[in-house]
């Protein structure tokens, strides 16, 4: 049935840092929670991430970043999503995100920010509860 389909999530690492252990742990945990997780690997440009999100028609994009370049990369990703008319996808971020940046990140339309030590259950629940409700109806 359309309403019980698996949630599809893109886990992506924008920017130049090569540490993806956290992203992999999250990807694995979401899979174990019954989601279909597309993992793109490290060193993704905003263009690559948005294109993958479009082709895979995902419900959520989780961005993992440790390099400190989030204030440069996140706005570009959100802008590209908007340009391509992708407005019904949940975007959340994790990694090293200083507290003082979080209001600005949320203002971009990134709904969740998860720093080190966040229980994985909390992230799973956040994704489940914040998927755009119309998406799970899979209407045209």
């Amino acid at each position: 049935m359309a309403t019980t389909r698996p949630i599809r999530v893109l886990v992506a690492k924008p920017g130049l840092d090569g540490h993806d252990r956290g992203a992999k742990v999250i990807a694995r945990a979401l899979r174990d929670a019954g989601m279909e997780v597309i993992y793109t690997g490290i060193r993704q440009t905003p263009e690559m991430i948005v294109e993958a999100a479009i082709q895979e028609d995902v419900d959520a994009i989780l961005l993992s970043i440790l390099s400190g370049a989030h204030m440069a990369l996140f706005p570009r990703i959100m802008e590209l999503l908007k340009q391509n008319g992708v407005t019904d996808v949940l975007v959340a971020a994790g990694g090293i995100l200083p507290d003082e940046d979080i209001p600005a990140i949320k203002a971009m339309g990134i709904k969740g920010c998860f720093g080190p030590g966040t229980p994985i259950e909390q992230i799973i629940q956040f994704v489940r509860e914040n998927i755009h409700p119309e998406r799970l109806q899979v209407e045209v």
């Binding site: 979401l30 899979r31 479009i54 028609d57 899979v138 045209v140």
Partner: protein, 320 residues
């Protein structure tokens, strides 16, 4: 047909990638009304060369698909890729990681990649694969590359979805080549020995050649199954492989086999649709309580599966 579907189809046919992506989602989830859209898409499909890539886990299927796509792009073709990965039988979730190795293709508007979870299907594909191919075909992609789940000996479903089946072997699996004699080896139209920069590649190719020399003549008389050695690391053998695929496509067209294969595939699709309908009727006819009663009677040996099946066939109107 609903107006929304009509609109989506028009966008898809005009090359809108988001429309194609959404159509794939509708197909995968069997959203009501999608079959009408597929019927419409069928009229626009039938132009693409559908290529299956199969082989054991770790032989380099994703890497090869990336290289093939790049070579087809060099030849100015628009390429679609379906990459199937297994669904966990326990959680129902899936980790779809083929894009990691296809990274260099990201950002090319002439390439459309979709990862699919197998969702309980056991043949190396997902149940929706053929319908997704239809949508990509109608959207103008040619060729369409289908990368199966890493397969063992029996996952031969790809032969019911592709025109040309490529079986990929890696060096150092010599004994396994022997073990593959039946099943997956028999469905190959082309063999690829990947990682030819590694020791043992020539030996693997020689073993495959020997196996082929033992194959029945009907398999090899008209089409001599090529064995192509490739190295993704050094970028070698890929243009020869694409040449071989083009030759196979030409051979299928000239010999009439293309139409024959396509028709056989469509017949199996129709059979699957009918089977699905029968199972749906069965679900509506028999309540869970009645199932439980029947199953209890059978396990207590008061009844047997055969007479119960017969009774249900009658109730479904399947017996004249």
């Amino acid at each position: 047909m609903q107006n929304q579907h009509r609109n989506l189809i028009e966008r898809l046919l005009s090359g809108d990638r988001r429309a194609l992506a959404r159509m794939v989602t509708l197909i995968e989830n069997e959203v009501p009304g999608t079959r009408d859209s597929l019927a419409e898409l069928h009229r626009h499909a039938g132009r693409a060369h559908i290529i299956g890539i199969t082989g054991a886990p770790g032989v380099g299927k994703s890497t090869l698909v990336t290289q093939l796509t790049r070579e087809f792009r060099r030849r100015e073709r628009r390429v679609a890729v379906i990459a199937v990965d297994p669904t966990s039988p326990f959680s129902g979730g899936a980790l779809l990681g083929d894009r990691i190795r296809m990274m260099e293709l990201a950002g090319d508007p002439g390439v459309f990649i979709r990862s699919m979870a197998s969702r309980g299907s056991l043949g190396g594909l997902s149940a929706a694969t053929r319908d997704v191919v239809r949508a990509m075909d109608a959207a103008g992609y040619d060729p369409i590359l289908i990368e199966t789940v890493g397969t063992g000996q029996a996952e031969v479903e790809i032969m019911r979805a592709a025109h040309s089946v490529m079986v990929v072997c890696a060096p150092g699996l010599g004994d396994e080549v022997q073990a593959l004699k039946a099943g997956i080896l028999e469905i190959a139209d082309l063999f690829v020995v990947s990682k030819k920069d590694k020791p043992g590649a020539n030996q693997t190719a020689a073993e495959l050649a020997m196996l082929l020399s033992l194959a029945p003549e009907r398999r090899t008389a008209a089409w001599r199954i090529p064995i192509v050695l490739t190295s993704a690391l050094k970028g070698e053998g890929i243009d020869q492989l694409v040449d071989a695929l083009e030759r196979h496509r030409h051979f299928l067209q000239e010999s009439g086999l293309l139409q024959q294969r396509a028709q056989r595939q469509i017949r199996s699709e129709i059979e699957a649709l009918i089977l699905q309908k029968v199972l749906q009727h069965l679900g509506e006819e028999i309540s869970p309580d009645e199932w439980q009663r029947l199953l209890s009677e059978i396990s207590e040996r008061a009844r047997d599966p055969y007479s119960v099946a017969r009774e249900l066939e009658e109730r479904l109107g399947l017996v004249r």
